[in-house]
Assembly symmetry: C2
Homo-oligomer: 319 residues x 2
DNA sequence: TTGTAGGCGTTATCAC
DNA sequence: GTGATAACGCCTACAA
């Protein structure tokens, strides 16, 4: 206290009476910081639940008394640079550059001009900006482990990526890392996937067709690892067409945990993309005092959402 | 041009060399406007495609060279007021107060302190703030008309709301207005809905159970008007259980046009929530010079997305 | 047409 | 400890 209690009370009263509120803009001018963080992303809109990225960021920002300035570039690199600069002009404390699904990209030079964090983006060239991404490889291991624990050792098919040779949609970090984790964990148990169907566009239609094709061949699959929930939805439809019951006849495990996962019947076991947590961490990292390892990669765990689409394997002659 | 071309060139050169960028904060302090708009909403996150609201707002803002400051309140009224004030402290040009689904609510007093627009919110008491909402009643009429044109006159059931007596989830503007439109349009053709099943929570589970119940009774439905796509998904599941084919045996028409609508088989005909357009209009209204009718309600049309879930009615003895 | 000074509302510094 | 004063960077009005 630098002033007397009397004066303080009087001031406070005056504040209340006048409805005085400090002008944040002028404060920003003076101090050089606007208590604002820029959030620049490619697409909020196209990916429904990626909004949770923003949600997490918003919460973390509010806890630290910050507001978020947001912009969307729809992948336009020039616009991206422009937005970053526009925000820096406004004295933001830092910028979160986010992608709605994990991608490998060049980091725009503008981001390096001040504090920044990469969210869901893996830089093609090493750079000093911290990176926050989901731990996809571990998620792959989780999926494989869950199947192994349920007793599956054969008839495990992958829907979304090819296995021999490995083939994944390019640029999609999730695909290759999930695959890696799956293969690794299965191999540790002496198991090899029975096959995999590369799907270009991970929508239900692709999952439907891939699964249909799988069923057309003699070897009936025992378990499907679908690389996202939309593929799973298509797989469910194909299984239904073939009068096969999910969990009883064919188990399905999936990734992302979009809302549709819980809408399917039986409800789909899925390994969740931790959008909220990713958003949080990006902000926390940006505002961290020491900023620890500047170029560090922060992997956020992907939790298993256990539902009913994986059944225990029945003991068979081959088992 | 108030200066000579020579000088201008020199200045521009200096700008380029120095990398000079005007300080927007100081400009804001001087001019009193920050070229920023506040976007305060209840939940970006829970409602997947509501992110399109932000998308539209973002696009409209960028076209006018504005940035968006966003905040989320999760329905906390106190936080809402606080956020609005925080944003006004930052000299925003105006505030869009948005809800992720159309709701009837009290307008916080803080919104009235400066320019504001209500997005997806219907004020309980009349107030001078412009309102942007989807035209739900007309959407209801569209749904009914589509069914009538396909030849349906009987066996039309509503899933989501009750009919005799009308019963809708409270606070949900969409439910009551859609119902109104449906009844109106059917009545104009001398048709009455055969029944309606009130569902409290408009998720697939509710749609599934309601449809199951419907099928248990003798009178087979010919057409279902599901009040959102999630209910429709549940209805599809119940129909499938009963070995009824959508479009051939029972037609389904729906509202919202979430992504899942196009994932279903057959793809679901749905009347779309114009999120993007709603977001756009809110910003445009806020920045409109004349601001025309201040307290006006702007209804944005909901377009019919024609897919395959409505079949033409077969001529029957009763037809 | 060009130059200059004053002020937007803070905060920070520096004498007292 | 306290109170006056300069400065943040820009815009604008007014004088030259």
């Amino acid at each position: 206290m630098r002033i007397s209690a009397q004066i303080e009370a009087k001031v406070l009263e005056a504040v209340a009476e006048t409805g005085y509120r400090p002008n944040v803009v002028s404060r920003s001018l003076r101090t050089g910081s606007s208590h604002t963080i820029g959030f620049v992303s490619d697409t909020v809109a196209t990916t429904p639940f990626a909004g949770h990225l923003i949600w997490g960021a918003l919460d973390a920002a509010r806890e630290r008394d910050r507001l978020l300035l947001i912009a969307e570039t729809e992948g336009d690199a020039e616009l991206e640079t422009q937005m970053i600069e526009t925000m820096r002009d406004r004295q933001v404390e830092g910028i979160v550059l986010a992608s709605m699904y994990t991608r490998r990209t060049n980091v725009p030079a503008a981001l390096l001009d001040g504090p920044g964090v990469l969210l869901n983006i893996v830089p093609t060239r090493a750079c000093a900006v911290p990176v926050v991404i989901p731990d996809e490889a571990e998620a792959g291991r989780t999926a494989a482990r869950h199947l192994l624990e349920a007793g599956y050792r054969e008839g495990i098919y992958l829907v979304g990526v090819g296995v021999n040779p490995p083939k994944t949609p390019r640029g999609a970090v999730a695909a290759s890392e999930r695959l890696l984790g799956i293969i690794e964990e299965l191999a540790a148990a002496g198991v090899t996937p029975a096959g995999g169907a590369y799907v270009k566009d991970w929508q239900p239609k692709g999952g439907y067709e891939a699964t249909k094709e799988l069923l057309r061949r003699r070897h009936q699959p025992k378990a499907l690892i679908c690389f996202n929930d939309r593929l799973s939805m298509g797989a469910f439809q194909a299984l239904e067409d073939a009068a096969l019951m999910v969990a009883r006849d064919v188990s399905v495990i999936s990734f992302d945990d979009e809302p549709v996962a819980s809408w399917l019947r039986p409800a789909l076991t899925s390994i969740a993309l931790p959008h909220y947590e990713l958003g949080r961490q990006a902000i926390e990292l940006l505002l961290a005092p020491g900023s620890e390892a500047p170029g560090g990669v922060h992997r956020v765990p992907m939790p298993l959402r256990l539902r009913e689409s994986v059944g225990r394997v029945e003991r068979t002659a081959t088992g």
